[in-house]
Symmetry: C2
Subunit: 641 residues, 2 copies
Amino acid sequence: MTPVTHDLVHATQNAFGTGSLAAQIPFGLYIFKRLLSVGVKSIFGVPGDYNLKLLEHMYDDSLKDTNGSTVEWVGCCNELNAAYAADGYSRYTNGIGSVITTFGVGELGAISGLAGSCSEDVKVLHIVGIVDYEDNPEMRLRNVHHLVPRLNDSNFIGPDYRIYSEMVRDKIACSVEYLDDLNTACDKVDKVIEDIYKYSKPGYIFVPSAFVNQLVSSKNLVERPTISLQDSVTRTPPGEARKLTNKILDLLYRSSTPAIIGDVFCDRYGLTKELNDFMNRTGIVSFSSVMGKSVIDESSPLYMGLYNGRGHVPSVIEKFLSCDLILHFGIEKNEINYGNYTYPYNPDAKVVELHPAYIRFYDNLSKKEEIYRNVNFVDILRLLSEKIELEKLSLKYDSKFTPYNANDLKLDDQGFGNDETSDITQVYLQKHLPESLNPGDVLISDTGCFQFAIRDFKLPSQVKYIAQSIYLSIGMALPAALGVAKGMKDYPNLHILDYEKIEPDYQPRLILLEGDGAAQMTAQELSTIVRHQLPMEIFLWNNNGYTIERIIEGPTRPYNDIAHWKWTKLFEVFGDFDGKFSRNSILETRSQLLNKLSELKSRNSTSRKGVDFMEVRLATMDVPSQLSGLVKDLIKNKNYE
Amino acid sequence: MTPVTHDLVHATQNAFGTGSLAAQIPFGLYIFKRLLSVGVKSIFGVPGDYNLKLLEHMYDDSLKDTNGSTVEWVGCCNELNAAYAADGYSRYTNGIGSVITTFGVGELGAISGLAGSCSEDVKVLHIVGIVDYEDNPEMRLRNVHHLVPRLNDSNFIGPDYRIYSEMVRDKIACSVEYLDDLNTACDKVDKVIEDIYKYSKPGYIFVPSAFVNQLVSSKNLVERPTISLQDSVTRTPPGEARKLTNKILDLLYRSSTPAIIGDVFCDRYGLTKELNDFMNRTGIVSFSSVMGKSVIDESSPLYMGLYNGRGHVPSVIEKFLSCDLILHFGIEKNEINYGNYTYPYNPDAKVVELHPAYIRFYDNLSKKEEIYRNVNFVDILRLLSEKIELEKLSLKYDSKFTPYNANDLKLDDQGFGNDETSDITQVYLQKHLPESLNPGDVLISDTGCFQFAIRDFKLPSQVKYIAQSIYLSIGMALPAALGVAKGMKDYPNLHILDYEKIEPDYQPRLILLEGDGAAQMTAQELSTIVRHQLPMEIFLWNNNGYTIERIIEGPTRPYNDIAHWKWTKLFEVFGDFDGKFSRNSILETRSQLLNKLSELKSRNSTSRKGVDFMEVRLATMDVPSQLSGLVKDLIKNKNYE
């Protein structure tokens, strides 16, 4: 199989047919041509009267790239789900995830999805179809539908057409363009896309319905056939880049036990291959972070585990605290990703934080720091790889630096036996689920208890792991899986960087892990999965409610209960009428679980079809090992039954 | 049956046990005691870690009013649905609809619901559980989960804890209090409630998790046992009120063909009974508006129909244009409610617009207007009723002023015959659905084609009609019906003002009309309806997609299609496992429809149980008569098949 290059840019560059020089085309068509030119092949959303004219342009015959691809509309059941799907599409393709809605009802429906994409640095573009009467004296006083009127004097003063754009500007989006001038509209479309790449944050374009049929020059598409991630990122001034690279190399050459952390921005800026190559060439050990899990190929003997401060696997902590130099690539500091701000280093360690907007040198002994702004780690990593002289490294890792082994979690001590008919527990899942994954699979987890377990999985080679880590909106993963599945279909094997570690002709599985409370939030999107015939495996953790909340407060309170659903019939009501698309099962015992995991793992993958949906019955207060301490405290402190 | 007074205030005043004088209670308990004191018996929402401590206070033994009622938590599947449910609860009870979420993920999930409540003047209170570290030097730099970090320098600068409150303040809520001082917290809770009543717009209270267990004085609850709608509204200065009343009476006495319009603010400010009494006492004819439909009792011989400008029933237009004085009570001017701003009057007519914040006198002949600000129509209507001298009226309505008759729509000319096995059409539904309603029923419609038909229904006496009219967010009605049903259970027959027109011991039906595309948006809330065993009838219009969009653009485009669902199995998967709660049917022919309507209408109502769910099969491009012109244009202009 010919490898697909990781960088989407190469896949699409010059793919766009230039046609006649700077032809005049409808602005709505410009938008879709531009989206297609940056690799967007699937667009998510919901139609509404203010975006219908725009959507019509998706059907223009000239909307094809030179490979013959066009965009496909993936209509979702509601706008929040569409935003989640766009997020998933971006996370898989590392390109732009696009969602189109109508203003007011649509975009406010989607807004929590965009806030999540912002929190998680995901490249989502939200195109909002609007009506714009600001400059129309006859119309501007009218309170139109979908548009919230003024709080006062709405019968006298017209609405604020920009009200919704002002809610998001500089808050949850790095770039917001409210198009009010057709002459600059194309430039603004391009600018928002560029900004999304540059800052790895969402962007918005508000498109008046009246613009989309008007003609604009297509010259931007000719002069700039595509807009690539690499061309869009902020560049470090070369002198500064060299100076900082040398500073880091200096530290490296003097270090005995350096470590790399592969964090989230490595994924977002397309540096996964570079970072793994750097690790492999140098022999420097690596750790993962919560948000960065699966950047580092965990099958490497250099992978030491996920470090997240004190509350983590003791052997991993021990190794991390023995490192005298930490190179933290693509760092995000937040409660979840930085050990709740208790993130110990070796007392003598030197730390280098490498971020898209700064480099920070920190000496844990002297407590001194130096911060360099307006420098981008993208350039530093590249220069490090170019400039490093391997013979100058003198790495001295002692015997504790063994490859990460999930046995370090000591799950067998958690008290489950070999009884095949016993109940399935989260700890049992922790032990057996990772082994059931194949190299190259794609794993998505929703927010909930089990998400904590995944931190300490040892993932097979090139398993891509996707989850919301800091915004933590339950329900996000289900529609995100729709987006990921579309991304996998549009760009098969895009996440595979080293085919030698994958079975020949292997078609990666997409595996979604969903909590019951989470799934109820967004369940209707299963019907879109049916409609688009997207293959995946779904494990639904049925533990009767919001267990993640129960362990914090109110374990037996009704507010932590949820409605009872017949989970294994959902696909039938949502469109799989003849039962040929989905295979539904309930897993209640360990042997049932193991049999299913084994079946899924070893299934002939030549052509993945349909969905396997497994409702896994779990006890209400059962949690993975990482949370068991929390539960013990709860029992002790609250005397609940 | 003892009538329940329309004004919730009387129902709850002095219902709250005062207990010991100004006892110290936890602030979280204060919140629920205050909510209960204003008549909130059901609260909608989703738990999240930042609101769990607050929710615990719902279970305090002292949380009971003197009737022994307490609050009930209605956990919803997601936050948008919870906001819609709170909206429905408020619309039915005319009190406060309450929704509680956690910040970020929860409140942004709900925000479109609140924007809709704002657009539609519905009294919804959104309580957001937050964490607040602003004043905590150790914590304030931390990026906590659910909270979007700063767009720049988030690894150095802590988040803006107020980011979400700033998105809504002065935009979609009349009152936003971000509690940061325990000493003023109770006052602020009371203030927001008062503001919601005063402006008939939503309000927000952001409650730090750290506050809810801290003790506060309960003196507000002692000094002010309840906060009533009537006490909260802005009062007109008495002199001004008398002057304006006399001005209006003067116009009335000199008028021959005056008319009343009962518009939306009459409902929101609890004036339905007063307005109908005024109409009946004076014999002045009345019209409805789109947003105000069902304020005026349509069984009255004085009801002339719904007027909405040019594009309406000819006989209604004729009558309206013969009126020489229009008293438009509770007016809202927007695209939907004011004839798309083409709202003709008789050339010689005088118009009086009566609004909560202004009175406007307009002379259609001279085109002169006088506007009086800071005057509230609530006071004016009351004074008009008190001061009017009936003998001074000289009404001269000619023979065209016949009571509104749905036959005026001339539906029989729309070309359907008497073939019982024929397909059901929207026009057929228009004709037969209204006849199937009983006096006192409650009707809710979602946004969509059929909503246009309802405008011209002649509703039986005291049928309460609920719909989103201007925000028009499809899917809203389904969870709103949950809220309405809870309201009907908490306050049985609250909407019945005249028992003589209702069957003895009649238990009003709740009837929900849903489009298929709309239902897919929020369908999971059916499971909450099952969970709470709330009785209702649901008609699901299955016409294969977004027909309301099809008639605007892209009638055969895939983007207007939706996924196919097995609608009549939804209740089973959503919790009605043994099939005892729901009765599901598919209606495809006219005789099936008529039989079902007849069955539902005449069913013994002594105890309504369960849900009747009817999937009604309709043709894809079939629309009610009001939209048939639009469809004809579409066919003519677009040559679609």
